[in-house]
Amino acid sequence: MASKLLRQTLTKTYTTAVIRRFSTVAAVASPSEYEDPTGITMKGVKISGRPLYLDMQATTPVDPRVLDSMLPFYLSRYGNPHSRTHLYGWESETAVETARAQVAALIGASPKEIVFTSGATESNNISIKGVMHFYKDKKRHVITTQTEHKCVLDSCRHLQQEGFEVTYLPVGSDGLIDLDRLRKEIRPDTGLISVMAVNNEIGVVQPVEEIGKICKEFNVPFHTDAAQALGKIKVDVEKWNVSLMSLSGHKIYGPKGVGALYMRRRPRIRVEPQMNGGGQERGIRSGTVPTPLVVGMGAACELAMKEMEYDEKRIKGLQERLLNGIREKIDGVVVNGSMDRRYVGNLNLSFAYVEGESLLMGLKEVAVSSGSACTSASLEPSYVLRALGVDEDMAHTSIRFGIGRFTTEEEIDRAVELTVKQVEKLREMSPLYEMVKEGIDIKQIQWAQH
């Protein structure tokens, strides 16, 4: 009896003490609450597998080659690059300087002109608020566009509250600014012109070279947000004549949480730092430089330089496949923004006679973004599309397809199939579409009040 009890206790402890090969500490945070072998259930929606990713403007997956270059700095080479007294610091600093050179090479700058920040948002803040605060005695005016990224617009609004004047240039229906209008708006006290190179929502490429020439003529500093442009189109700070450029790591298959700011040295542009502290990064951005992230960004930039041509050719073919595939099957598809001056990986489409939210609800197996959701939590249509002059109903049904390095032809075909199916289903149910097919002009209808 006693031996049976002893055996029971021993076997009990043995089964409960199974040694797992790999630590499950991280598994506690792993998403096992919504993933099970039959599919994923989240926010009331059930899908059979992870959606196919077509939202490259929001963020990009980290390239395995970039991850490979970052890992040693999380594992054994974990020193602080500002430690001057031991090997850990020296090897970290060498890695940071190598990364700096890699980023500089991609944009045609010198490594001394690159400052690492926590992202393009921080770089934009430093550029806009930093420059205007530095020159606040002489320069009180900023020119920017209506389609800029939220961080630029918000910084300008902050400056307005401090008493500066800001001009928001309108854009045409193709998304491009009017250069003559820009010329007219420049005043003697204009301290900065900020125009983004590639728009994140509609993918339109602004005429940065011409803007650079105008800025040189009037001797006004030119800042551009090149987060979406880096590694995708040819960026050259000399040809563009930029004084400040914001760069982001996670848009070029690098890690999130890192970015860079290019600051021209000849002629030197000065900024007031937004982060005060130990004087790292030449006093512009104090704080320990995150070695693994910076190394990742450098590796991503080097990779982008090598792969840019190959990627662009491929993505152009995929974009045409997507657009033609959709246009073959359904009509009433409008591309938002100019088709000529466009980055090939961004396709923003509006579908007529379809309601936007229901279209997105049906497209749960494709990870895309809509024109309105990424800007605000409310159902307000995107300010970019509004600036283009797109009607409210078309602005609501806009979908942004982002194609990237890792997108395959099969994914494009599946996305076309799913989109067409959903649009046709919604149009079938739509009484407005029936009226259009009968030939009634919707805009002329007098809606009676009951």
């Binding site: 993933e35 992870r50 599946r414």
Partner: protein, 91 residues
């Protein structure tokens, strides 16, 4: 004389490298990375098909061998952290 280590590769070695790269590429559990690795390998070898200059050949070969090492490490890493549910493209 660049110390690339490899020297000019023979045809057999190049084919071996090509097959190894494709084998490792096939083992990636992530759909997008798998397809990219296969496609990039095939395109890169096809583009370099007509290289004749010895220094270019050995540089390309060493680059390929380095990429093979990276791919082996990353393939293992991706499988360790594979999500429970596969991509919808894998069904």
């Amino acid at each position: 004389m660049a110390a690339s280590g490899a020297g000019v590769p023979m045809r057999r070695e190049v084919l071996q490298l090509y097959r190894s790269l494709l084998r490792v590429a096939r083992q990636f559990c992530d759909y997008n990375i798998r397809e990219y690795s296969k496609r990039r390998t095939m395109d890169a070898f096809r583009d370099n098909k007509n290289l004749r200059d010895p220094s270019q050949l050995s540089a390309a070969f060493s680059h390929g061998k380095a990429q093979l090492e990276v791919a082996k490490r990353q393939s293992l890493l991706y499988s360790l952290y594979a999500p429970k549910v596969k991509s919808i493209m894998d069904f």
